[in-house]
Symmetry: D2
Subunit: 337 residues, 4 copies
């Protein structure tokens, strides 16, 4: 449901126009130095402001409500809140009868009997990812370790609106008065060999699980991905070069048999164009039971992919931090075979 | 780890060359008629035999060890075993020093300290999917319901070795004396609106999680998938047409906001070429600590994608059966808003 | 860890002297009318004030941070916060070197490397049960159902300081300038037949699990309990009287084979005397590494059992609400045998 | 449901008169030497044969179906089967109309719609504990560690039929032609400080959870238990004596704040008298809808407590092995405070 992870366990709550959004992290080891400063850079990357992003402005200052003492984690659950201040709910009341195409309005009303908080997408809003980004910043710090060097996670936009240059892709959207999607690539360096738990908790399984929790994601591929389906086995196989497990090529994207193999982790995701396009659309009206013209109210991104890299890094770090804690727990108390 | 699902919970065990592989299903409702006959058609689809598949032959007769009484499920855990008879382990002893490229040999030896059962891939073998297919057949029966009509799950190969015609793609592999991959599409008709649990247990999240447990899968995309990243929002959005939620187009592939929307569920997966290619390869030898020539021993498929459709259907049905039971549990005891 | 339940899932967070304590409830069905008024009576029962309870005063006003809209549950996670205002942390700084007997000071410092928030017991404080009581009030409302009549949960003190009359037992403590314990009995009327999931999630297993999360509980017994071990089978067995499952006696306390049998659920728990007794004690001093005289600082209850009935009701209702949702989910789609 | 544990995860399956009972252990570390010999002593203790136990005889030879290779654990799921050979199902067919008092017959028929395997109690039978005892023997071996010395778990009968001498208590049952119950005490030496995870996964919570999965258990108490409710705080508190955490007394039974404190773990459980007493009883007949005389068919123990010590040890070891793996996982990567 709204929790993820086995040892490093992240739970989210909150709605777009409710009092706040937030996150609880259970199972974070005690003793990690942590202040708001650790979260602010990633939170800033998620915030709108740049061209093509929503005009809604929130301070996104993390309020630590539990689990922090003397600027260190305590081992108890960390709860972090973010107040919602800049809400304009009236925009949404007006269009309640019209389930917006591409949005969760229709399914949510069906699933929750009309009791869901529909303002600004409610719990389905990308605003909920604020807590994810906070948890991701903590997971990254855990992965980097005390020497701040172990594991690094970095996601970048490789395509916006079909263009390799994000600026150019965004301009297409502005020119067309429409929204666009994009493609992101995530790379993780420094991972140890051995993360991932067959059969069901393969590294790809858990990463994909977490990635598809991000709103608007439509696909994921590891290493060579879909292109691998068109290669010969002899081309695709990565020859191991030495005892460290380093391979000559990295078509596998750093995971073999569901387990990290010590090479760079590489995967890509596809983000659909923002459902809230400025273009006029047609959709069914619940009150009139007719197809009607419809134009989106509210404040929105022209391309949600623009703000997605830090969210992608966050879910990636959350998954890997959990797998790392699970793997470290596995005692090697008998000698190796 | 080796279990998946919240209410309809599937656990697998067994190794390629151990006494058996098997599956336990906990949480299957009582009273469903069930005999071996219900499983045989799907098990036959998973078995090799056709051109391009491994010459290893197993009877794959399901042995019900618990949870079945008078040919009906009892509500207690169902355990089903499949004996391994046709094993030729000596093939594997010889090449122990050489971690096969693309296989889990290297990571498994690292993770399990050399104690893993390496014969035929051990627990990493696709043979473990026999239990998955059995569980999938039961999940499908549950989804179809007593009237045998409710929900249908069907996966097909849409591409082998880069060719739309599987025969032609396989011939490429035979001609090149190499292995090839493929692409599969899965479609599910008859799903109710409302399956999927935000934030983390979106329908895509759980499907992707289960799909990446299948060996050799490198990518998944829902609906328009990666192509969505190159569309405008006004093109991609599916206009709702009436109160049933039916949409004019189905770019979303039947899931919006992580929740099924009553339209057909459509997604595709990419399967890499079989790692065990007949071609000569080079890889590191653990004993000599040198890069050496290497050619695969054992019996293998030229294209694992050929046998994957029924496995893909199985994990899909397992996920949907669980989501269906979870959704049905949600009481609507107060009137709708 | 800090979460409990499979469908109706309760998570707690917060420390005695941190900014707040709180609770998140995931999986609460949508559409239940809910306001602070629903929680206040139970919260008032948990608050100190009566003779023998701590002089610390907190308003305990629930702040709904998510999951509530138009005074109804939305189906999204409900987060409820309670501010900590009346903290006197200096009391605790002084005695940091002395792990208080009966308290978690020593084990917490060991487990969390000294990073734990030790002020007032931190996350081990009974103050964390405020969130439990709030979740319990919601679970009770769910169990009662829309007609406010279905299931009722009631816990009472049957013994304080060894006396059947709580007043008399408390007076013993006051006279002795010492703390005392007590025994509580919990009764649940109106439960349907069938709650509880063998093998491991028997109704007793889950109730005992939740009950031992309450600080200071040392024992639990169902029905005749420990006395059953001294009865003959013919005495102990409860004869079924009719098709409703009503039994002549109720030695089983309403659970047979781990499953509720439609009779009243009855169990008792033992609460140890408050560890913070006013009496002078001896314990090891971490700094001097010597056994020293020690007297408790801070504000405490003479008998924590006095405030425990509403907490016991809360965990009981939380367990039963979850089991009820799980049982309702079990489809009976094929005819009965 | 039928699984328990977070890292060392035990799942049971099987019925009293089905083909077999069994257990799967997921998460057992790789490299532990293991053969049937390791399980036989505990399995022998569970088997009947002594005076007062059922005449049903089963060989109880463990069949390792997965997870074992070269007499060592592999890190993959361990599945162990026990065939049922000595079944006399006809005894049960005859009395189908009469739900036996004290047994699960009535609730199971209600919960599973009559589809449950009712022969010999089906999945509710104590025969299912065979797999538990096997898993317990493995958990004990893990707790003892490579040097075979770390942690020891021992349970004994302290009372049978109200008598401290088990022989004398059993004779009471034989003389009265009735069944009796008993009390067991379990002691664990050598536990490290720090096992147990507040808030909900306290050591007592998990132990009680697992203990109440054992059929016929009616109560559990830790340390001084129910008697603690009648002590003063100054009497009950255990004074810490030195840096090892050793306490002068051990009223807490080795757990404080839900966490093991390095002292001996001590707890007791109450087992009800066997429901299948030889005495004539009265109960409702489903077919006639009348109260009728009834006498038990089948083969039964006069006192199930006699065979319970090894089962109690097993669930205790299973819980502690899991908590130990979880605690070892907790990295202490930053210096202590």
């Amino acid at each position: 449901m709204n929790s993820f992870g086995r040892i490093f366990r992240v739970s989210v709550f909150g709605e777009s126009h409710g009092p706040c959004v937030g996150v609880t992290i259970d199972g974070c080891p005690a003793g990690m130095p942590l202040t708001a400063e650790d979260l602010l850079p990633d939170l800033a990357r998620r915030k709108p402001g740049a061209k093509g992003t929503t005009p809604r402005k929130e301070a996104d200052l993390p309020v630590f409500s539990s689990g922090l003492f003397n600027d260190h984690t305590t081992g108890s659950p960390l709860t972090i809140l973010f107040e919602n201040n800049n809400t304009r709910s009236a925009d949404y009341e007006k269009q309640r009868a019209i389930p917006r195409p591409g949005h969760a309005d229709f399914v949510a009303a069906h699933k929750y009997g009309g009791f869901e908080d529909y303002r600004g997408g409610g719990h389905f809003s990308a605003r909920v990812t604020t807590g994810i980004v906070a948890a991701g910043a903590i997971a990254k710090k855990l992965l980097r370790g005390p020497a701040d060097e172990a594991v690094t996670v970095e996601a970048v936009l490789t395509e916006v609106g079909g263009e390799a240059d994000p600026e150019k892709g965004l301009q297409k959207a502005i020119d067309a008065k429409d929204s666009v999607g994009g493609i992101l690539e995530c790379r993780v360096k420094g991972l140890p060999i051995g993360l991932g738990e067959p059969f069901f908790d393969s590294a790809e399984s858990l990463l994909a699980h977490a990635v598809f929790a991000i709103p608007a994601v439509r696909g994921i591929e590891f290493g060579t991905g879909f292109a691998a389906a068109r290669m010969f086995g002899s081309e695709h196989n990565d020859a191991i070069e030495d005892a460290s497990g380093k391979t000559r090529t990295n078509h596998a994207g750093g995971i073999v048999g569901g387990i990290t193999n010590g090479n760079e982790l590489v995967f890509r995701i596809a983000v659909k164009p923002t459902s809230s396009t400025p273009k006029l659309q047609h959709t069914w009206n619940r009150e009139t039971d007719r197809i009607e013209d419809f134009s989106v109210k509210g404040r929105h991104d022209l391309c949600v992919a623009l703000r997605a890299p830090v969210i992608l890094e966050a879910v990636t770090a959350i998954v890997l931090a959990d797998l790392l804690l699970i793997e470290q727990q596995r005692p090697r108390i008998w000698d190796d075979a």
